[in-house]
Symmetry: C2
Subunit: 186 residues, 2 copies
Amino acid sequence: MQAALIIFEGMTSLDFIGFYDPVTRLKTMGFRPDFQWRFCALQPRISDDRGLGLIPDYVAAPLDGFDLLFIPGGFATRSLQHNQEMLAWLKTAAPVPLKTSVCTGALLLGAAGFLAGKRATTHPKALQELVPYCRVVPGVRVVDDGKVITAGGVAASLDLGLYVVERLAGPEARAKIAAQMDYPYR
Amino acid sequence: MQAALIIFEGMTSLDFIGFYDPVTRLKTMGFRPDFQWRFCALQPRISDDRGLGLIPDYVAAPLDGFDLLFIPGGFATRSLQHNQEMLAWLKTAAPVPLKTSVCTGALLLGAAGFLAGKRATTHPKALQELVPYCRVVPGVRVVDDGKVITAGGVAASLDLGLYVVERLAGPEARAKIAAQMDYPYR
């Protein structure tokens, strides 16, 4: 089980880390010892939307061999959804069987063609921007359309991560990981 | 208003990012245009507890000129609380008027001497480890002892960040930032 965790210049780090924390506990807490992940980007170093520098370990390489794709959001998605280099790279993930996003990461899933005919959501203030790509579902934190799972804004990343944990390892794993995260909400 | 945001080898990134996101919105959303932050570390590059590389912009320099100190947690705190280089560095923050931590970051606040006579909390499973340093408060997500504010485990970082937002900019700022974060809990 190999996860491609996408990071990009101008992303919102909480979108990313809120998902990364619970899903990587699948391995560190022993529920899915086979769970592995790479930090994937087009550049060898990126900065988030508030200046934090992050270092990917899988740079500008094809995404077709992964089992899970995750894309965070951030204001930069508004231009990246029209960036041909970014879209060509994301499209290499077409064979990935499970694709996920938080917040406006859904715009990138949509621009890459992965939301056609699907139900999906995004940040509550960005719902209209997602309309060209799919059937938009407002008012819920996580929308599961089988091969594509999308979440609401920023902090919904934690809920998406725990949702994916449950799908991959069951409700007991979810409960124990949420307890270790000290996250009582759902 | 200058915040020293500490990062260290082996930290838990969600402890850090869950605080960093709401407090930096004080500036990006215009509530406190004077709010600034540095990513402070002892090394020029650090890796979190699951392999993500982060780049500080304030390295091995004194912390005495800041207005706010923030320390995240992670398993590495168990050894760092006895690391003399780390403690000597953290002690340079003694004059900082507001000191904060999430999760086992409280062990570092304690080891640096900043919790003497204070009420504080940490991860629910680490409460006993904090006993040598202070009066431990279990069962609440944020403990405010005036000049020191501590929070529970990992995801309590979001609650601490929003608590500090309210203290620095009032309840309306908190409500608007929480809405922009799509975080309905408190």
